[in-house]
């Protein structure tokens, strides 16, 4: 499974999401590849992604997709991340 974390530069906030998503996945025993990207990489990375984690600003940029789009409020709240990931993966 591939999970994308998306932000403006692909190296800052998406990096935090990547780290904390990997932590949560390990905790709940899910094996996935997590890739931090910026909006310019969406087109090439979107096709085989199952879940996309991002902040509200980028939802529109994602457009039509079969992936589950998760909007994250607090990037450091792994309990929030876990709840939303379990809902999407459940």
């Amino acid at each position: 499974m591939k999970i994308l974390t998306l932000c403006g530069a692909g190296i800052g906030t998406s990096g935090i999401l990547k780290i904390n998503t990997e932590r949560v996945l390990q905790r709940i025993g899910v094996d996935a590849r997590v890739v931090a990207i910026d909006v310019t990489m969406l087109e090439s990375e979107l096709e085989d992604a199952q879940v996309i984690l991002t902040s509200p600003e980028f939802v529109e940029a994602i457009g039509r997709t079969f992936a589950d789009v998760i909007v994250v409020e607090n990037y450091f709240d792994t309990a929030e991340l876990q709840r939303k990931l379990e809902l999407a993966l459940g």
Binding site: G8, I11, T13, I16, P56, E57, N74, Y75, F76
Partner: protein, 153 residues
């Protein structure tokens, strides 16, 4: 144990406490000046950080009260660096959940790979939900360095 690299040094010049910016833009500019004063970046990096928010919105407000200002690695970055600015009066960035901001953490990475390593280290710090509040209430650079686990030089 995770093998995480430590944060870059945070000299006194990189810590500015209790400022009263007139808006989010000025708070990011102050953080940019702190990065430049500490030798991590040129003055132009502050402009890049403001532009990121203008282009993509206030998504850099990653947790309640905390803005993680940053731009891409480029010629304005001399070396990895962080700066901390605390606000005497929080300012809104226009974020739907996490406004207003009382701490601006500015980040510069010399490469994309380094930048990602630095945010991983930052995630370790702020996964403790008290860290923003403790930073906002810090009264000197030593206290800030203690919370972040950063060295002065």
């Amino acid at each position: 144990m995770d093998q995480q690299p430590a944060l870059p040094p945070l000299p006194d010049e990189g810590v500015i406490l209790g400022v009263r910016p007139k808006d989010w833009r000025e708070s990011v500019e102050i953080a940019g000046r702190a990065l430049a004063a500490s030798g991590a970046t040129d003055a132009g990096y502050a402009v890049d950080m403001v532009r990121m928010i203008e282009e993509h919105g206030p998504y850099v407000v990653v947790a309640p009260g905390l803005a993680l200002a940053h731009a891409r690695p480029g010629p304005a970055v001399r070396r990895d660096g962080i700066a901390i600015v605390t606000l005497a009066e929080p300012v809104p960035f226009g974020h739907p959940y996490n406004d207003p901001v009382c701490v601006v953490l500015a980040l510069a990475g010399a490469s994309s790979a380094r930048h990602l390593q630095l945010v991983a280290e930052i995630a370790n710090i702020f996964n403790d939900s008290d860290a923003v509040k403790r930073l906002a209430e810090a009264t000197d650079p030593d206290e800030v360095r203690g919370i972040l686990g950063a060295a002065a030089s």
